[in-house]
């Protein structure tokens, strides 16, 4: 009780100094809490982005390597479907055979972003150590182009392709992959019995735009798929627009003119535990050296847009700013505590003369420092909550983009000797997520630890002085 009375009175006497120290610590701790909250918000946003791109529960994603695009003039020697305009007019060439394209519609379901991976590799990955579940998928793009009859004549425009993303879903592993992240808003999801059916689940945004509902029909490479469900993905952006059974996608899809039967181009993997992810990633890289093996953490580094900028801001600048402010706050607190101890030398000398042990006096000073630290910590947590609230209120939605080139490559030339033009529809996975900085338990624990450390650090410098204090010298000091 006496300890508390003495501590309270002393803090009241040094109220201005105590407030100054506490405020310094509060600013430092508040910054740490805010930055930690922002980082947690960014991590959450990243997690949401990754989930929306690759689905809930997916630890590792394997995608086939990017295929080599046909170069202009290389013709169709590799079997890809190209559209060419030459002296003979507009032509569509498939597997080396060309015919007039004027007025024709081209519909193509292709995997031009990723090379195919044999389905047997899915089974091989499933046998690896620490692999919990594996599912193959086909990320395809349905592109349809109608060639104008006057195409190729001087001044004629390029045809505008219509394209949408089609995801071939392994109906025996529905818990993995992009469909797993969504919520069915109408109808039902795919199921095991749909494996070979012409049924589709449509993204809610796509369904709204194209006025699709359960029972509607979507055409993929001229095949009619009945819409059995509408799925709402957690974030807006560019999720696959149509989900069909993997077997159907394999039957209809091509990659550079070759059928994708028995192939996938994306493999979704779940590890036994988070700690096993790096090891599983290494094993898959070793098994499929040419393909891209991406974990959530490595995928995060590929994300561009304001989300990655914010992540860098929070993780780099914010963290260092917090550290610098904290060090400054600790230094100021320590110096002021030492100055306070210096002013109280006679007081401590008197207490020693009264028979107070050095450690009791140190405990008194440490207690005072700790109290200031805790007050600063509490204020810091308050500031942190305020900072997090402000960030959540004013932060714009963050966009994350993973760009990929997809769809058939269209090559055109204006005639002999004329410049060749080519383009390929680029589909970017862009996700917009709200930035919500939420104060985590870890941040609160960090704040408490920092407050205690700050208080103890400041007190320890003063205590070091007290421990060295000889009572006779202390009493000889002029007050």
């Amino acid at each position: 009780m006496f300890f508390v009375t003495y501590l309270r009175r002393e803090l009241r006497r040094r109220m201005r100094q105590a407030i100054f120290i506490a405020l310094g610590l509060a600013v430092g701790i508040g910054l740490v809490v805010t930055v930690t909250a922002a980082s947690a918000g960014v991590r959450k946003a990243q997690s949401q982005v990754l989930k929306s791109l690759y689905g809930v529960g997916t630890d590792i994603t394997v995608t086939g390597k990017a295929p080599k695009a046909p170069t202009p003039g290389s013709g169709t020697s590799k079997g890809g479907q190209t559209f060419q305009v030459g002296p003979g007019g507009a032509q569509v060439c498939t597997n080396g055979k060309c015919h007039s394209a004027a007025g024709q519609s081209i519909d193509h379901l292709g995997s031009d972003s990723y090379s195919p991976i044999s389905r047997s590799e899915v089974a091989a990955i499933a046998r690896l150590r620490h692999v919990k579940a594996v599912a193959g998928g086909l990320a395809l793009t349905d592109t349809s182009v109608t060639i104008p009859k006057n195409f190729g004549k001087p001044g004629s425009p390029l045809p505008t392709p219509n394209s949408f993303n089609v995801q071939g879903v392994d109906t025996s592993h529905l818990s993995l992959g992009p469909l797993s992240a969504g919520a069915i808003s109408a109808g039902r999801s795919l199921r095991g019995s749909d494996a070979t059916s012409y049924v589709a689940v449509v993204d809610s945004g796509y369904a709204k735009t194209h006025k699709l509902k359960v029972g509607s029909v979507v055409r993929i490479v001229k095949h009619a798929f009945t819409v059995i469900g509408i799925v709402a993905q957690p974030q807006s952006g560019s999720p696959p627009q149509v989900y069909i059974p993997l077997a159907r996608a394999q039957a209809l899809g091509t990659a550079l003119g070759k059928s994708l039967k028995n192939d996938v181009n994306t493999i979704y993997v779940t590890a036994d535990s988070a700690a096993d992810i790096p090891a599983v990633q290494r094993q898959i890289k070793s098994l499929l050296p040419g393909d891209t093996v991406t974990s959530a953490s490595s995928l995060a580094s590929q994300v561009t847009g304001s989300l990655s900028s914010t992540a860098r801001l929070a993780n780099d600048f914010g963290r260092w700013l917090s550290v610098v402010v904290l060090i400054a706050a600790f230094a100021v607190a320590s110096l002021l505590t030492m100055a306070a101890v210096a002013r109280r030398v006679r007081e401590f000398g008197t207490l020693k003369a009264l028979g107070w042990r050095t450690r009791r006096i140190i405990a008194q000073v440490m207690g005072e420092s700790l109290a200031v630290g805790v007050i600063g910590g509490a204020a810091g947590v308050g500031l942190g909550f305020g900072g997090a609230t402000i960030i959540t209120a004013v932060a714009p939605r963050l966009s994350a983009t993973i760009a990929s080139s997809t769809g058939p490559r269209i090559v055109s030339g204006g005639g002999p000797g004329a410049a060749t033009r080519s383009f390929s529809p680029t589909i970017s996975h862009t996700v917009a997520v709200p930035m919500s900085a939420s104060v985590t338990t870890a941040a609160l624990v960090a704040a408490v630890i920092l407050a205690v450390v700050g208080g103890l650090l400041a007190g320890s410098f003063g205590s070091w002085r007290i421990a060295r204090l000889r009572p006779a010298d202390a009493l000889a000091r002029v007050a």
Binding site: R346, E347, G349, L351, A353, G355, T358, R470, P471, A472
Partner: protein
């Protein structure tokens, strides 16, 4: 009570070694009142610090109830100070943030006395110096004389064997000085204390049983005076 034998205390100041106390031998009996006089810088306070265990002699021995203070560990000396030695300072040395009662209570903290017992003893101590009505006042709200009386209560509350007073009236006016000395003398008589009092004031020194004069670190002590307080105290 005290047995000092060939005590020397040297202070090193830069390259110089300054003898504050030189080859001092002295015996102070239980219940005796010794006044020490002398000019500033001749070792009075150093001697008091040695007697209180606040400093250690460079050579020689300071024995208190048979224990050599120079050879005791820091914690033992601290315990001895807490139990047996009371200090009174010229500048009172009260903790400014604590009330008169809390300042007195501070002397009981190292003894581990329970709260209720502490309150009882503090109340009695303040009563004995006629400050019961000022118990809740902070030192800044008390006069010099009241502050010194608080300091006396703080020194006596633990019922020490010896009271070491360093110029206890040095900061007080004449009337207050007399009031404080009368109080000290009364308490000394009533409690059978050993009182060692450093003073510049010959009038005060003459009231002691024995008077010693410090000069250049050496003490010349006269015989117990007749007709003094000490004489009557026997």
């Amino acid at each position: 009570m005290y047995q000092l034998t060939d005590v020397t205390k040297l202070y090193v100041k830069g390259r110089q070694t300054v003898p504050a106390v030189r080859d001092l031998s002295l015996q102070i009996d239980d219940g005796q009142w010794l006044a020490i006089q002398g000019r500033t810088g001749h070792g009075k306070s150093t001697l008091l610090n040695l007697l209180g265990g606040l400093d250690r002699p460079t050579s020689g021995s300071v024995r208190f109830d048979g224990k050599d203070l120079g050879r005791l560990g820091e914690s033992e000396v601290t315990r001895l100070r807490a139990r047996s030695i009371g200090f009174i300072f010229q500048t009172f040395n009260l903790v400014p943030t604590l009330s008169a009662a809390e300042n007195v209570e501070a002397a009981l903290i190292p003894l581990g006395v329970g709260t209720a017992e502490r309150r009882r003893r503090v109340s009695a101590a303040l009563d004995s110096v006629a400050l019961a009505d000022r118990a809740r006042h902070l030192p800044g709200e008390l006069s010099g004389g009241q502050q010194q009386r608080t300091a006396i209560a703080r020194a006596l509350v633990k019922e020490p064997k010896v009271l070491l007073a360093d110029e206890p009236t040095g900061n007080l006016d004449e009337d207050t000085r007399d009031e404080i000395i009368n109080l000290l003398e009364k308490l000394w008589r009533e409690r059978g204390l050993t009182l060692i009092l450093v003073t510049h004031d010959s009038a005060i020194a003459q009231r002691a049983q024995r008077v010693g004069v410090m000069s250049k670190g050496q003490l010349a002590v006269g015989p117990p005076a007749q007709g003094t307080a000490g004489g009557s105290a026997g």
